[in-house]
Amino acid sequence: MKALLISVLLLTGQGAWAQSSASAPAPSLYDLHERLVDQDGASVGLDVYRGHRVLVTMFYSSCQATCPLIIDTLRAVERKLDAPQRDGLRVLLISFDPERDTPKALREVAESRHIDTRRWKLIHADEAAVRRIAAALDIQYRRLPSGEFNHATVISALGTGGQMVERSAVLGHADEALLRALGNP
């Protein structure tokens, strides 16, 4: 595929615009304005945790394999932080599945997994919002005819203004890169 891509770029004479240099500030997720609903039925925006450091990821609750592991991984990151960092951290779990992951279904996930919803939110978004959020987080996903989703599992760390400062595809244990991003003010 890479060779093919190179030939595409040569043939068209165009690449994508050169991405901003490393010194430019990371784009803020909060520039995406979406109306979302949390597990308690409250209307929230992506910036519901503005002012905090945030871990954000996408999942769907009927998934048997990954989703328990995503929650375990987020908890593993939390455990590695010192107490003040952990108290300041917030977590957003955004569902790919608007049909089945109603706020009520998400509430049940939160209860069965003993999630502290004062610091974590499980988010229901409509199909168009899911598509935009996944695009902003650069998470590839695909709804299968069975109603399941194939998706990349990516945990992003956000700065207090929503800047996407780090992303991790590590599952099962705390990624050092995420810890660094959360630990350094």
Binding site: S20, L32, A135
Partner: protein, 255 residues
């Protein structure tokens, strides 16, 4: 002369207003099957723009939605190349007004279509519309037609973009699908996902996500492979001077 005038006015109508055509639903054999082992993809009836969106069209949108001006748009939603070819933040300039708009991000293209009550076409919809020649709905097995499309890839880089809607209409009445520009699709974010990543056994990341493991049929269809390679290399904030878009709308409910 009368014929020429008639042709020119027809093109102008395409370039200036929203003109779309209905496309019937069908079972379609895609290069990207929708599920493991699925031979065909069911496509619901939809409407598709006849032409690519022009710079003039996009300028009207930007004037009504100033948050999408060059310089105003958030870096999350469009990179630094966004509308850089325009004469000013709200005017493309005469030279490019009727050309297909390029250097727009997926977010910007999506917002344009949504403002019109439409959406970007899904990949399968685009692929089905683009499988048509001027005479038949699926010309993909016709070597002469394939050859004509491939020839574009060796010539398009050197020429300037033609006007939006100026190319020949296909079986459905749709223009600009080949030989003009790459096009954003609604589900560009699903193009690198394998059909069944759960088949992969080891307990690391790849078992769950399978990104990069796109499974493709009809690998001899080079024109489509190149398009998929281009699309899958683009993040939603990226812009390119060879990437434009058109809009689509649903007709009735999806099956």
């Amino acid at each position: 002369m009368a014929l020429l005038l008639a042709l020119l006015s027809g093109v102008a109508a395409v370039a200036s207003g929203v003109v779309d055509v209905p496309i019937s639903g069908a079972k379609f054999e895609s290069v990207i099957p929708e599920a493991p082992g699925a031979k065909t993809t069911t496509i619901a009836p939809f409407r598709l723009d006849v032409a690519l969106v022009s710079n003039a069209d996009f300028a009207r949108f930007v004037r009504a939605h100033p948050e999408w001006r060059r310089g105003s748009v958030a870096p999350l939603l469009a990179d630094g190349g966004y509308l850089q070819h325009w004469a000013s933040v709200s005017e493309p300039g005469k030279a490019v007004a009727r050309k297909p708009v390029t250097q727009v991000s997926w977010f910007a293209a999506s917002a344009y279509c949504e403002a019109r009550g439409a959406r970007l076409p899904r990949w399968h919809e685009w692929e089905m519309a683009a499988a048509a020649s001027d005479t038949v709905p699926d010309a993909r097995s016709d070597p002469a037609w394939r050859q004509r499309i491939l020839e574009w890839y060796s010539t398009s880089a050197r020429g300037v973009l033609p006007d939006a809607g100026a190319s020949m209409a296909n079986y459905y009445g749709v223009r600009d699908l080949h030989g003009v520009a790459w096009e954003w699709v609604l589900d560009v974010g699903s193009m690198m996902v394998s059909n069944d990543s759960r088949e992969q056994g080891d307990p690391d990341l790849k078992r769950f996500c399978g990104t990069g493991a796109l499974s493709l049929e009809q690998k001899d269809n080079y024109a489509l492979m190149m398009r998929i390679a281009m699309l899958s290399s683009m993040k939603a904030s990226y812009t390119s001077s060879s990437m434009g878009f058109r809009c689509a709308t649903d007709v009735g409910a999806r099956p």
